[in-house]
Every structure is written in structure tokens, then in C-alpha cells.
Symmetry: C2
Subunit: 423 residues, 2 copies
């Protein structure tokens, strides 16, 4: 593990940070927010309940190593500077925000331009997503699905432990936390019916996933060696991969999920860097049988991130937690996913989103979808406050996912992705 000053648990900022905040000085995740002079978005980092505008900071000469590109296009920095540039920027921001650094703290004029209370900002999608790939790396989820839909066969298909199974999703419908999702219409066919019908899905589900956004791209025909894959990762967000199960059942043979997944995918707005996650690196579970050499990724290639899903119907006054899970249940690491993705020479671009697949734990209260939590509708969840029950998500329900790494006396968090379902 490569710990440095930015991981010091005792470090404090001159900006107020509540003790239970997801955004202490050790985190500094990136986001995009709308402001008067940049309605389409400015880049900021979040600390406590404040946003630090990177453009303004550059403009004031306080982000000294960033070159002129920075001020115009953060994505160019990522694309050309890669992870090293990102690390440098994060270190500078960390120092600038430390309690005893007066450079920004005492410069009232610049502070007024640079620091914005998050409650005054409209937080946007962190990047316009170029491509969206959804993996299937949660081994408990894949096993549960196998048990439900292929009960007479082994739960995992023969290829599962040999490669990170995935499929291309739809980038144009990726939206940020807070944007409602409309219940989609689709084709479905009841088992006892001869022909399909078209109408609103009756089996709207969430999927609890984590995803990484790419910074630096790659060239066509040039696979990324697994040891270099993390250099291409900008950071990590929470992903709710909305699914219409009845549509999926009817459409998915032989080419996989399509419209059952493409109507909307929600992500959290704060891009947490691998640098911030460094202290929570862990070994993944043992991979047996051994994977092929180009996918071998020994050492602490996984992360210990706690995950939680809650639901709140429109009759409830507060959310009810229905799932607690952890990214340690991913069989394949981020680096393995990206090495596999590019192993055939597919070029990646900056602002690609690679989601993990549903992250279910081993116990029934840790399953990352309603499909599993309610076992294909056979075990409804009761919402304690109102006595309502759910097998899938109903109109008016708000589904909220949150994620954090637990430190001693602080958390490195992802905020949340919270979405209301509309008819």
C-alpha cells in the first residue's frame, strides 16, 4: 500500500467538516456543478459541505502545477496527464485546505469565488459518459441468478471464473443522483400467454453496483497491460443499474439484456479517486481455477467499501435500509475488468463508465437487487413504518444507495445516488 500525507487520519481542514461527513480532507472527490458563469458545469472538489472550484483556484494561481489546459478542460488533464496528474492535483488541494495553510484560508476575495456551499450548487453528472459497460463481477449475484433461473444446473456458468463477463450498456441514459427515473414501458410475455404485451414494467428493480470512470484513454489495437490499468482510472462512483425484469426475461435470448437496462442508469456525483481509497485496499478472494496470465492481478487489487441500499415509499417519513453489502464480494477487480475489456484491442476513451455488476453479499439481507432480496417475488419485503410490502419497486418509491470506507474516526464516502421512480 502506498500511503502518504493525504491519508493521515489526523489531518484537518480550515473548512468545517462534520464528524460523520463522507467528505473529510482525506477524500477530496471531484464533481461537476452548474454555476452562473458555467451553466454546463465547472469542476470542483467537495470537502464537508463546500465545493472548491478548480477553475477559480487555477485562475487565482493557487493550483500552481496545473498548466493552462486545466482551466479550460479538466478532461484533457485526465486524458493527457493520467493518474499522475490527478495525484498531483489532489496533493495540492489537500495542502491548500489543511488547517494551518493560510493561502486560500486568509484570502477573502479569492475564497468568495472558490468556495461554494453545496446547498447553493446544482450538482451535475460528473462527466458526459462516452461508453457504458456493465460487468457481472458480483459472484454471489451471479450465483443467485443462476439458482433462480437455471435451478437444474450449477449456479455459475463455466466461463464465469475465467473472465469478467460483461456487456455494453447504453451511455445516453446515464443520469445523476436526484434525477427521477420514469417507469419504462416494454414488451413482456406472461408464461401462460401465447403472445407478448406492451406496457409499463411490473418488475422494476435496482441493482447495487460500483463503477469506475476512465481518465486516460487507449489506442485501438493496444491492450492495456493489467499492471497499467489503474493508471487509466479517474475514480469510482456508485451505480444503480435500473432493470425491468419482465422485459429482460422476454428479450434477452440470444443477445443479452437490451431495453430492460437501457432506460436509465443512475450514478452518484462524486468521483472518489483510487488515491483516496488507498488505505482500504484488500486482497480479493482467491481465484480458483487460476486465471490466464493477462488477467492475473495479485496483491491488494480490491477495496473494502461498505454499501447500503434504502427505500422510502411516498407514505413513509424516512427511508428503511433493505440491503447492506460490501465491494469485497466482487470476484473480479477493476483492473481485471479493464484488462479484459481492452484485451482484444478495443480502445477506451476518457469518461467511459465501467460498472461492476450487482454486489450481493452472502446473507439474505445483503442481496443487491429486489430480484434476490425477494427471491423472484416469493418473499416480499415489509416496509415497517407503513406496513406496505414490496417485491419490486413501485411508483413514488425513492431508492437510495450509499457507500463509504470506514476509517478510525472518519469516513471516506461516496455520498449517495438517490432516485425517485415516477409513473
Amino acid at each position: 500500500m502506498n500511503l502518504n500525507e493525504t491519508h493521515d487520519p489526523k489531518a484537518k481542514s480550515w473548512i468545517d467538516v462534520a464528524s460523520d461527513s463522507h467528505f473529510p480532507i482525506q477524500n477530496l472527490p471531484f464533481c461537476t456543478y452548474a454555476s452562473d458563469y458555467a451553466p454546463h458545469g465547472s469542476i470542483a472538489v467537495r470537502i464537508g459541505d463546500s465545493l472548491i472550484d478548480l477553475y477559480e483556484l487555477c485562475h487565482a494561481g493557487l493550483l500552481k502545477e496545473a498548466d493552462h489546459h486545466f482551466a479550460c478542460d479538466f478532461q484533457e488533464v485526465l486524458e493527457f496527464g493520467g493518474r499522475a496528474a490527478l495525484t498531483q492535483i489532489r496533493k495540492q488541494l489537500f495542502r491548500l485546505l489543511l488547517t494551518d495553510n493560510p493561502d486560500l484560508r486568509d484570502n477573502v476575495e479569492v475564497r468568495a469565488k472558490v468556495v461554494t456551499p453545496v446547498e447553493n450548487a446544482e450538482i451535475l453528472l460528473p462527466m458526459t459518459i462516452n461508453a457504458f459497460v456493465d460487468f457481472y463481477s458480483g459472484i454471489n449475484h451471479a450465483s443467485n441468478v443462476g439458482r433462480m433461473f437455471r435451478p437444474d444446473q450449477p449456479p455459475l456458468l463455466p466461463n464465469y471464473r475465467h473472465m469478467p463477463i460483461g456487456y455494453n450498456g447504453r451511455a445516453s441514459s446515464v443520469v445523476v443522483s436526484g434525477e427521477p427515473i420514469r417507469r419504462p414501458k416494454g414488451q413482456m410475455k406472461a408464461p401462460d400467454s401465447d403472445s407478448p404485451t406492451f406496457g409499463p414494467t411490473r418488475e422494476l428493480d435496482f441493482e447495487l453496483e460500483m463503477g469506475f470512470l476512465t481518465g486516460k484513454g487507449s489506442e485501438m489495437g493496444e491492450p492495456i497491460p493489467i499492471a497499467q490499468c489503474e493508471d487509466h482510472i479517474f475514480g469510482v462512483v456508485i451505480v444503480n443499474d435500473w432493470s425491468a425484469r419482465d422485459v429482460q426475461r422476454w428479450e434477452y435470448q440470444p443477445l443479452g439484456p437490451f431495453l430492460a437496462k437501457s432506460f436509465g442508469t443512475s450514478v452518484s456525483p462524486y468521483v472518489v479517486t483510487l488515491d483516496a481509497l488507498e488505505p482500504w485496499r484488500i486482497q480479493g478472494q482467491a481465484q480458483e481455477p487460476a486465471v490466464l496470465p493477462h488477467l492475473q492481478n495479485p496483491g491488494s487489487s480490491h477495496f473494502d467499501i461498505q454499501l447500503e441500499v434504502s427505500i422510502q415509499s411516498d407514505k413513509m417519513s424516512k427511508p428503511q435500509v433493505i440491503c447492506c453489502s460490501n465491494t469485497k464480494h466482487l470476484y473480479w477487480s477493476f483492473a481485471q475488468q479493464l484488462a479484459h475489456q481492452t484485451s482484444n484491442g478495443t480502445p477506451i476513451e476518457s469518461a467511459d463508465l465501467y460498472a461492476s455488476g450487482t454486489i450481493s453479499g452472502e446473507t439474505e439481507d445483503s442481496y443487491g437487487s429486489m430480484l434476490e432480496l425477494c427471491w423472484k417475488g416469493t418473499k416480499p419485503i415489509t416496509l415497517q413504518e407503513t406496513g406496505e410490502t414490496r417485491t419490486f419497486i413501485e411508483d413514488g418509491d425513492v431508492v437510495t444507495m450509499t457507500a463509504w470506507c470506514e476509517g478510525e474516526g472518519y469516513r471516506i464516502g461516496f455520498g449517495e445516488v438517490s432516485t425517485k421512480v415516477m409513473s
Copy 2:
């Protein structure tokens, strides 16, 4: 059918057009080419062996109805003006290029800027592709695949005649005719082996498809009614959907094709508008059982486009035609594909590519892939000139697809997508 002056078979241009050209004055397809002042691409139409630069034409005041956006960003014209704007531009170009119109013909100075011999131009990808969706609408191909891989079941799965089956592909690896494709590496597993290997595919295949590019986008949550779908289509190109069959066999369960398809997709550079194709509209084959109302698309919703694939090994002096097919073998129309795609509210964007799926005819010499032509490797093709045989595509082979509509004494053509395979 809505035929107008631009479909007059007798119309001639003052620009030379060979009698067998794909690009007479009745066609006027759009393309992007690199020039000195615009290395990243200028928009042109092709006529005969010449390119007509639309920016220069605007600048000279000869494309009068186009507003100032045009000169800056053709994609904006498409996006905001839709098909109506495209029709207007095409009509003006047609009139300007007619034999007896002196406006451009006799303006030597402007002509020198506007008209470029195609041999002096580098033809680029027509648009940077936002999203790539690959359908499976060739019913003979789908039936052949069923017969090969599910011999004990009906050739078509139960959903096939109820919706245009498709999946999301990878936009970042879409390249233009002329760009070589490298044989990809991938994971594959021999039937008699316990574990997979990683290496160059041994079953590299082409797929003969046609695809449409979108002009005007749509809003999230707003399905496009089928009667409006063609308003969103910019035009049509030939698509070679390269495939690695051995990789596909091992990876595709349960989420569909992924790396077997994402290493490269080749398209022809000339975007032929639906306006140009109007005289070749035909009824599709009868859809039985009747499709759901939102997919009903009566009338002449299909096109009669002739298709041809040839192959030339590096020992051959000229290509050998190995497949003759026709777009009439598509079960689902372009409009049905787009209506289905957006039926769940997925937004489309300008420059999305929707490919048809492999277009095989009914006879063995009309199959649109090596998989079918050689029936899973059991019936090799002999290359007559050299006596070489092929079951899949070898390094050094050039695969060329061409497409055209046959008129009386002229053709409306798509040019070609021609690709050399490299090791």
C-alpha cells in the same frame, strides 16, 4: 412514394459522372474529408469522383437557405433541422449541380475551392459515433445461426418475430473503410479442453450489414412514435460487423456478445440519405404474427438494396465475389428498429449508429458471413485464382462489401467498405 425532381433518372450534372458510378446527381451522399484548413474533417457531398465542400459553398453564398450554424457544425443542422433541413440542402445541391445551372459551374474561383477530386482527399469516418447498436433483423441469418447452434429446437427463438432483437455494441472501435483491422486476441475454449486459452482468434468473420446514422436526437423518457422515426435518420451506410466466432462461443452466455464484436466495426464513408433511396422503397415481408401496435409499420418501409461481398487474399490479383444478398431479407425495418430502441424512453443522440444485423439471403451463395457460407467450417470456400481455401478470414485478406440500388441506366450506390486484416 414521394418522388420529386431529384429522382429524375434523366438528370445530368456538369460534373463528369461515369455511367457505372455509385454517385450520380440523384444520389449526393454526405461524407467527411480531411483538408488543409480542416484536418479533422469538412462535410462534403460526393458526385462522380468529386467532392463538393459544403462549408465553402456556404461561404460563397451558394447554399442560401442554410443558416449560419451550417458553416460551423453540420451536426447541429441535423440535430435541430432534422430530415426537413437535410432535404432542403440536398435539393439545393441537386439544382446547383444540374448541367444547365451556371452558378457554380461558371464561377472558376469558387469552383476551385468547392470541388475537390476524391483522389486528393482523405475520406474520414462520416461522424464520430456516439452509440452503436447492432440489431439481428436478418431473418435468414438468425435462422441459420439457430439451425447451427440449436439443431434440436426451432431455428428462431420465440421472441424473434415480436421485436427487433438487438444489443449495444462498442462505438469507440467503429472505423471507416480503408482502415485495417488487427486480428484480435481473445479467450476461447476448445470443446475437448478443460480450460480456456488466450490468443489470436482462429475464427475471424465478417458480417454483412447495413446501418443508419441518426440526425436528430430525442429526449429521455420520450419514445419516438414509429411514424416519426425516419425523421431522425440522417442516412444509411454499409457495416461490416467483424466477429471472432471462437471468442463469441465461449463468452456469450449469459449476457450476449461482448469482446467477440468490440475489437472493430467497419463502415462505408458515404451517408446515403433516405431521400436518395426513395425510388427503391418496397414492402417488407409479411409479419406473422402481427406485431404490437407501437411497432406496426405498414406500407413501403423497406428498401431494395443489392449487396455484395468479395474477398481477396494477398496472393490474388483481383477480388472474388463470395456473397450476393439484398436488404429485402431484413424482417424489421429501420423505423421499427428505432421505434423499438426508444420504446422504453432511451434517448437517442445525433450520430448514433444502428446496424441491421447480418443480411443473408435464402440461397447458400447469399449468406452474409463466413460462419454461414462455410456452415461452421464444414464447407470451405475455394478462391478460384489461387486454389486457396477459406473457412474464416486469414491475415492479409481484404474483405470488401458494396451496395447499390439499380436504376434504369444508373445506380444509387454506397461505395464500399473495404478492410485488410492484419496479424
